[in-house]
Amino acid sequence: MTKHRLLAATALSTLMLGAAPAMAVTVTMNTVQIFGTIDPAKISDYTDYMAAVNLYDGLVSVDSAGNIIPELAESWTVSDDAKEVTYKLRDDAKFADGSPVEASDVVYTVERLLRINQGPANLFAGVLAPGSVTAVDAKTVKFTLSKTFAPFLTTVPAIFILNEELVKANEGSDDGQTWLATNVAGAGAYSLKSWDRGSQMTITRNPDYYKGFGAGPIDEVRWIITNDEATVRSLAASGELTMSSQFQSPDTYTALEGMGRFTIAKEETSTAFYLKLNSKAAPTDDVHIRKAIALATDYATIREVISPGGVLSTPLPKAFAAFHADDIPEPVYDLEAAKAEVAQSKYAGAPIPITLGYVAGTKFEEEISLLMQSNLEQLGFVVTQQADPWNRITEIAGKVESTPNVNQIFFGPTYPSPDSMFFTQYHSEAAGTWASMEWVQNPEIDALIDEARGTGDTAKQADIYKTLQHKLVDLQSDVFLNTQTVQHAMDKCLTGFKAVPMMSFDYDFTRYSWTC
């Protein structure tokens, strides 16, 4: 009998005897990297956000369709010129300590975020300036933007509201950074119970949460930090694990499913997997060579065998349905057509040296790289494999000359707007990061991205984004491999996992329920 069944049986028997209330429901999930920080002004990766979405609430949140939904704010209005956004806070919104959430807390939170200038602050660079957020009254707060920035509404979920009074009481000499690194001052549904860096974090349900909970609420969430497959299997076998991370090996998913207690929940995501082609270095500076590489890619094998996922035919995943250029055909694997492209290039007629880069130690990326090598060598390429640790990749991406010709990169939206995909990867201002190893730096592309940012008209935005996709596909900025399928082994009693196109918002445990 597993631990969960034992708990359930115990709970049932006590209820039948008319005794104590039901047992608390604890969800134990493994995660493969440690929680770095829980300070809302500094969070930057998916584990940080996973904790933050449960410990804090924002003015608004995001649902699985990418819609902005009310949270601390019950409504919002946008001015005609799209430069002023006014949020009306819920009357009953309160922090975990019971104090009301007021407009001044929002002002303090944003000012602190801009002062520290880390984490989510990059979303508001050039958009919000100190003093641009004001309290109209205790429950109304107004954001005045420095310029029209169409995706603004979609970036606001990343602002997790702080309890000003509580932080100021503990701000020390560093704006509360030391204190907020290990303490919570938010209005989230969960409070921090224990945190043993390097091994686990446990959060516990705040019974007075202002929004309340649905049926079968999760009382405690415990994250165990381990990326070891054997450990995950042991935890599952002993009945301790409720939900796996999304990064387990296929064997582990199969083993867990075989235990009978787990089901494998799969969701298509808006994270795309690209071969980023360095357009400023020979030979990938020639569009015919880039097209040849795209035609020499065995999409079906990669998508169905090596790295399972959905079809990606443009830089934008289909999850952004309203903005997706559906008229662009799926990429095809055609070595004859690839040979024809090579023949048209300025490098035709001689062996063509090319470097294929991937993350060292990542088995499936190595397999993809070897598959590419076998196909490219048939076209006359002389392939050099370049496996680099992730640290090194973040560095070599900073210069054109150190960026390999071909780079395997996953990239997903950090806020639910196509802008997140286009600006970070293709705009000249964002060049020099691992997300922009194409080195597109094209004034026409920049202008289109800026134009989309500057219009509040959604239909017009959609047109611009579709044009952008056509242009980038014509340029063959990347090889569009697939969209990532995220999967978790989940206890059959746990429901509620739905992929959300914003970092880790799919792990907001108020959306989950225990059905047994």
């Binding site: 300070d39 990766d45 660079a125 860096r197 450990t231 042991s234 076998a237 090194r392």
Partner: protein, 340 residues
Amino acid sequence: MEFLLFLLRRILWSILVLVGLSIVIFAIARVVPGDPARMALGPTATAQQVADLQEKLGLNKPIVEQYGMFIAGLSRGDLGRSLLTERPVNDDIRDTFSATLELVLATITIAFVLGVPLGVAAARWKDKWPDTLVRVLAIFSAVTPSFFAALLLQILAGYVLHILPTTGRLPHNMEFVAGVTGLLTVDSLLAGRLDVFGEALRYLLLPATALALATMGQIARITRSSMIDVSSQDYIEASRAFGVPEPIRVFKYMLRPSFVPPLTILGLEFASLIGNAFVVELVFAWPGMAAYGIRTILQKDLNAVMGVVMVSGVFFVLVNLVIDVLVGFVDPRVRIRGSR
């Protein structure tokens, strides 16, 4: 006097080693690829944000000046802030060091308690089946990588038999805050919490055993050869001729001088395990300093890397110093050699 000279030489040598270590690790940390500011701020940080953080961290300053800043901080006992955890490195190390120390102490205890008797038994029945058995066992345990032993034990105890916990230091629903020493086994006894003590021991057993196997094999082999070496000495032959009972001969006259080599090995192992426990810590999600060190290296968290290496280095040097003194105490010939 000769002992004081011996001690003074050892202390001076230890300081030199630490200064050398600080220079080497500082240089290595700077040339390892990766931009710490970029890694800390995430992929979407603007170039300006990265530049601001680089300036704040002093990464734009000449390397000699950076080293000077590091040494100045070190002299104040300040290891700076970690980019990975956003806390003072001192706090991170304080929190994680006790977990590693507890694991290593348990490891050494298991290795010693099992290794010495096995070595003595092998020497006592030299070239007979107990000797062969111990030698085979010792070789197997010495050549088995600790990560393999860890996985094997974890699968057996956690996955197949379900008899021992496989991750962490305590059950998640057990409320206990480590106090004075940070060692859960000690603090729980001090607080009179026998339930916590029992659980802490259960959680220690698997990782400590996995880590102890290799050391145990070494200690068994060295104890055996040392005992055999001593047993051929004239004074042992004489004691045998005088009819001294075997237990007294073995445990009084043979074991003490035989202790010097295993004691040296034990000290070296103890010190090196502080830094080398990371594989086992990662497998068992043990929140120790070794695993923390690995994570900081992967993130190129410069201050934390320096902090972990320096603390490990200080510990290594201190343990070696203590071992030298102990060996000098047990064997006077060593301190006579050392004071020349």
